[in-house]
Symmetry: none
Subunit: 205 residues, 4 copies
DNA sequence: TATGAATGAGACTTCATTCAT
DNA sequence: CATGAATGAAGTCTCATTCAT
């Protein structure tokens, strides 16, 4: 947690520091990010940094928190659900948002990628706590099983896993290529496969 | 390539060093792995290390080579393909092997994971050369499309991507949980979904 | 360029460091000079050194810069040219200055010698930029050829070379012997030979 | 002094070692030359090296000795003096030989250059002992002063110095450029200046 | 006599963190 | 509250030399 000293700073300055953090952690893993670099591009002294943050970890936690806040703010009023939506529809909505997010704040997304790539104790601990989204989708799946839309013999956790691991790899490739149309098509096909299967069995081809 | 000096060592000692490498590279990415740590746990002097390996990269390449050899040895006579096999059957075989591998040599698998996590030029170059598997599966898919087993409107690259991204996340979770039965069931279900779809449409449930 | 951190140090300390550098680079070529040695004799920590200088090269450039400054300061108001002077007169003036310099700051001169001795890319690049003096003297020679003082059949580059290679060896021997009177006499004679020749032909002896 | 063990080796092997030394010391100063490199290109073991030579210095001394021997052998029967020769004629002869030497054994010459560039205690001590040639020329000069060919007011040591420092710089530039004609012309002019002077005074121009 | 494995000091450099002012 | 100088451990790598076999 940043110190109160930090929160008493002028917004201007706080923003400079935040952006210096974004820049550094977007380009380097937590372990490899350099406080040196952060203070230089934030234009603050080394001493100040440690008056604001307890240490590098503290600084990183602050950064993640800010990003989460922005994310919330951005998506707050957008999500207007149609009660008829299936889990797949919601999933597509989520992907749309994610894509928008990447487009608007590619650096934030990159920070997430770097997080996945870091192997420090600290980061691994953080990643463990990331299951909220998974649970939500599992519940949607259960609902659609009740509704008779999804096969009852499917374990919701398994389907959730599929959706998320595909999510990850598709977004990653979009992040590197920025081929919006290609990605749309790819995701469409993936969902189609997950819905109807890839074999000709039962499909009208 | 390790020096001849290294290969002339008593097996005992070479093994110590090998294991020190395994330990270190299983716990840290290439970039963060410490030669200091390796020599300490191998019980050799700094000078000796550099008499065996040209540098850290050399040491890492040696490690990967050894692992590949062990892998080959383990799987040598197992792979007997049935000409009737679909791409899914082959995929399941591959997964079976991968799971066995994780079970026998979890550290080796972890080394692979850490490799994916590394950002350094050196590792990225190494990873580039790793696409062979993808291409092979894409060709199997095309074959099965010809055979009429797989929907012709599916892009082989997309389906390959699905298989591999699921692969990655499933193996990863197995790595952490070591629930063999659970994993078997999970993979079985995933493939079932990819084959037949997850919706009730066209499925006889 | 040394960091601002360095320039903010108390003069006392900066001087200690400067002198440690002088000592080390006077006794060893750039390549063989040891930062370890410098920090030890300057009484600073390894970390501090790198807070002052980017690297060894930076440190060396700083040293050269300081020496150049001192040199300038020492010679500033001395050089008053007589329009009648020949290239030999100017050369003698230059030598006088050089000798004074050696006398006052033998270590600085030694640093220059060590520089000539170094083979490294970095130093060779530095030395390349040192040809200004040669060109200047060549132009003086051409001027004196116009004036009819110097034989027109002489290649200015050749005569310049003679002057400078003699310069080098004479100063070097002075550096080792410190025989001021002897050196004066020796240089005087050398110039006399270059002017009038060493044979009796055409000399009124 | 190499050990007797060394001198008992087959000529073949001794030659290999000698040549490995030549190669290494031609490319690197004494301080920077690497025994590693020498044993590698000589194809001997590290242990053997130290059975032949006490240390690096010993090895270097051996090398210099061998080169001196070859030099002697090469020039032994060539020098047939004309009793009329002046010191300048002999000097020109010497230069011719030196040039031939560079042409035949550029590596040996380069070893000499590197020696001049080395600043280790050891090498500096060696260089001090190199005055034999100087004394010889001084005696020739004295002779020519007696003969009335050279101005009596010239200090033989000074003229010798001039000759040798010019020698050094001219050969050096030849070594780098290999412009044989240019060098010949340049030396010719230099000697002409030393003989007759560079000013128009007393010269028939 | 030959071998080559072992050594350890020392090279340059980076970095998060502390602390006196 | 801000500053920035100081620190020292740790990083990779090189090398001449020793010594057991």
């Amino acid at each position: 947690m940043p110190t109160s000293t930090f929160y008493n700073l002028e917004e201007e300055k706080r923003k400079q520091i935040f952006e210096a953090c974004v820049e550094e952690f977007a380009e380097h893993t937590f372990s490899e990010a350099s406080i040196n670099q952060i203070i230089k591009s934030a234009g603050i002294s080394r001493g100040s940094f440690y008056q604001y943050f307890a240490d590098k970890e503290d600084c990183y936690m602050y950064l993640l928190g800010e990003i989460a806040k922005e994310k919330m703010a951005l998506f707050k009023d957008i999500v207007e659900k149609d009660p008829q939506d299936t889990v797949f529809d919601e999933y597509e909505n989520m992907l749309d948002q994610a894509i928008r997010w990447i487009d608007v704040k590619p650096q934030y997304y990159q920070i997430g990628i770097r997080m996945d790539m870091d192997d420090s104790e600290f980061i691994q601990r953080l990643l463990k706590g990331n299951q909220a989204g998974l649970d939500y989708f599992a519940s949607l799946i259960r609902r659609d099983q009740q509704r008779g839309i999804i096969r009852k013999d499917i374990d919701p956790a398994v389907l959730t896993d599929m959706l998320f691991s595909i999510n990850r790899s598709a977004l990653m490739s979009f992040f590197y290529n920025r081929d919006f149309q290609g990605m749309k098509k790819q995701l469409h096909q993936i969902l189609d496969i997950i819905r109807k299967g890839s074999t000709t069995e039962g499909n009208h081809v």
